[in-house]
């Protein structure tokens, strides 16, 4: 702290936001240097929710470690689990049955929508609109019900396992997903009416917090945050996995790099995810939902890496194996950490009132940053 105060000028004010503050969506601690109303520097302090998941994983077997990644980015838990399962499969050189692959994509896209819908409500609330939050939860609840029925849990499903998925789809799955797609298609124009076209929302977000393409790349941003700055970094397009290459969808992009375009990119992504679900839901192939695996999984000696596109950006799992039943070292590349590192650069020179709006548009999930 002493050092930070040392670098400030006369008349600067240092304030703390968090670790317990509703606007930071978790236990993030921001030390902000202010000059009047202008932000001069933002320093995120992490460590309040550090559980050393990576270290814990070293003592867990290749089946067991997957559950802990649901506790990182809890809004994309399916996608995190998916990436872990994919990495283990890469090591085992295991082919996933076609049906399992399609189920995985369906679940991933449902998760993405659930995450974006929740973000939409939270973003509007950050800016001061309270009602959209409830609208968002109405749609998200439908997804949670679908998950509960098929996967057995609402948030931390642990549904993806090496070789496929834990259970087959519930008989109601098809009908419920159809109903959900119809519902969200009906409600998205309503979302636009409430927030996207709202004059106050626009003037609070347009031209605010501009992140240039160069900066987005050099800070390692990914996901909608980087795509809003014109970086084409959707892993589903650039390095397709699990059959994404066979699907028709567009990479949601914008070039402005401001808060409003980050917002728009996610709105477009929701529609893209809906169309992916529509393409797949009537064409789920028959067959096994899980490949045959040994009771005890052993990865050969070597290094394995795979990456996926979560709702927040690129998530990667890196496993170093010594040939045993537990990994020698695991490293997770979480999208939130890199996105957060660009925050300081983005908010410098902006007003303190816009900080929360910019932070909201980065869609930070703190347990994902601080694992």
């Amino acid at each position: 702290m002493v050092e930070e105060i040392g670098t400030t000028d006369e008349g600067d004010l240092i304030i703390n936001i968090g670790p317990q503050h509703p606007a930071t969506h978790g236990v993030l601690h921001l030390v902000i240097t202010l000059n009047g109303e202008t932000v001069r520097k933002v320093e995120p302090h992490l460590g309040y929710i550090h559980r050393s998941i990576e270290k814990m994983c070293e003592s867990l077997s290749y089946r067991q470690f997957i559950y802990s990644t649901s506790r990182m980015d809890y809004l994309s838990s399916h996608i995190n689990n998916h990436c872990c399962a994919m990495t283990v499969e890469k090591g085992l050189q295991l082919e996933v049955p076609e049906r399992a692959a399609v189920i995985r994509i369906l679940m991933d896209e449902l998760t993405r929508i659930a995450s974006h819908v929740l973000w939409w409500g939270a973003m509007a609330m950050d800016i001061g609109a309270f009602t959209p939050f409830f609208h968002a939860f109405r749609e998200r609840e439908m997804i949670n019900d679908i998950m509960e029925e098929t996967c057995g849990a609402r948030l931390t499903m642990n549904y993806m396992v090496p070789g496929g998925v834990q259970f087959d789809l519930h008989p109601n799955f098809h009908r419920r997903v159809k109903a959900f797609v119809k519902q969200l298609r009906n409600k998205l124009p309503e979302y636009d009416e409430l927030v996207t076209h709202n004059a106050i929302f626009k003037s609070r977000t347009k031209g605010v917090g501009i992140l240039s393409k160069e900066d987005a790349i050099s800070y390692g941003c990914s996901g909608p945050t980087a795509r809003a700055s014109g970086v084409d970094c959707d892993i589903r397009k650039t390095y397709p996995y699990e059959g994404y290459e066979k699907l028709q969808f567009e990479q949601a992009m914008s070039t402005d790099g401001d808060t409003y375009s980050r917002y728009l990119v996610r709105m477009v992504e929701m529609r893209q995810s809906l169309s992916i679900i529509e393409q797949l839901i009537d064409n789920i192939p028959e067959g096994d939902f899980q490949a045959k695996t040994k009771a005890v999984l052993k990865l050969p000696k070597g290094e394995f890496y795979s990456r996926v596109e979560t709702a927040r950006g690129e998530f990667g799992v890196y496993i170093v194996s010594e040939g045993g039943t537990t990994p020698y070292r695991i490293k997770f590349r979480s999208p939130g950490f890199s996105n957060l590192s660009a925050l300081d650069h983005t908010v410098r020179g902006q007003k303190i009132g816009d900080l929360v709006a910019i932070m909201g548009s980065f869609d930070l999930v703190i347990p994902d940053i601080d694992r």
Partner: protein, 158 residues
């Protein structure tokens, strides 16, 4: 020109606010579309899906028999040491010493409901229950012994 833009802006802003307010007004007057669940009050009618994971239980049949052989496969599968199997040796019908489960200790407070133990069990002795209201006054109340007192291994389960 400037003035025209200025008033145009205002008109658009008011228009966008009104269209948002119309949405809000619609829900205000359409009570049918309210979806809030009145949770504690609706406990009697609340149905959870059969796959919902709330707690590990060990079903017993009418003769107070379970299917657990005490093989500890579930204990090994569990990522966080939730299950502890205490075994004992029993004499079976032919007078041979055989391993059997003495106590299936289950720490609900540690369980992450990951389902790995259920999948690991070779004899389907345990399953997930749908109960979810686990709050108690003391942590020790969450440590449970799943096999009932005096219960035995079901005939024919190896």
């Amino acid at each position: 020109m400037f003035l025209k833009d200025y008033f145009n802006d205002i008109a658009q802003a008011v228009g966008s606010l009104l269209s948002g307010m119309r949405r809000t007004g619609y829900y205000f007057t359409h009570h049918k579309e309210i979806i809030t669940e009145q949770y504690p009050d609706n406990r009697a009618t609340l149905v959870l899906p059969e796959r919902f994971r709330g707690e590990v239980v060990m079903p017993h049949n009418g003769q107070n028999e379970h299917r657990c052989t005490g093989c500890t496969a579930c204990e090994l599968a569990c990522p966080n040491g939730t299950i502890k199997i205490v075994t004992k040796f029993e004499l079976n019908a032919e007078g041979k010493r055989k391993k059997a489960v003495d106590a299936f200790v289950y720490h609900l407070e540690l369980c992450t409901m990951c389902n790995l133990c259920i999948q690991a069990c070779p004899t389907d002795a345990i399953k997930m229950a749908q109960s979810f209201e686990h709050s108690v006054y003391d942590r020790s109340q969450l440590t449970k012994i799943l096999n009932k007192p005096e219960s035995k291994l079901q005939e024919g389960v190896e």
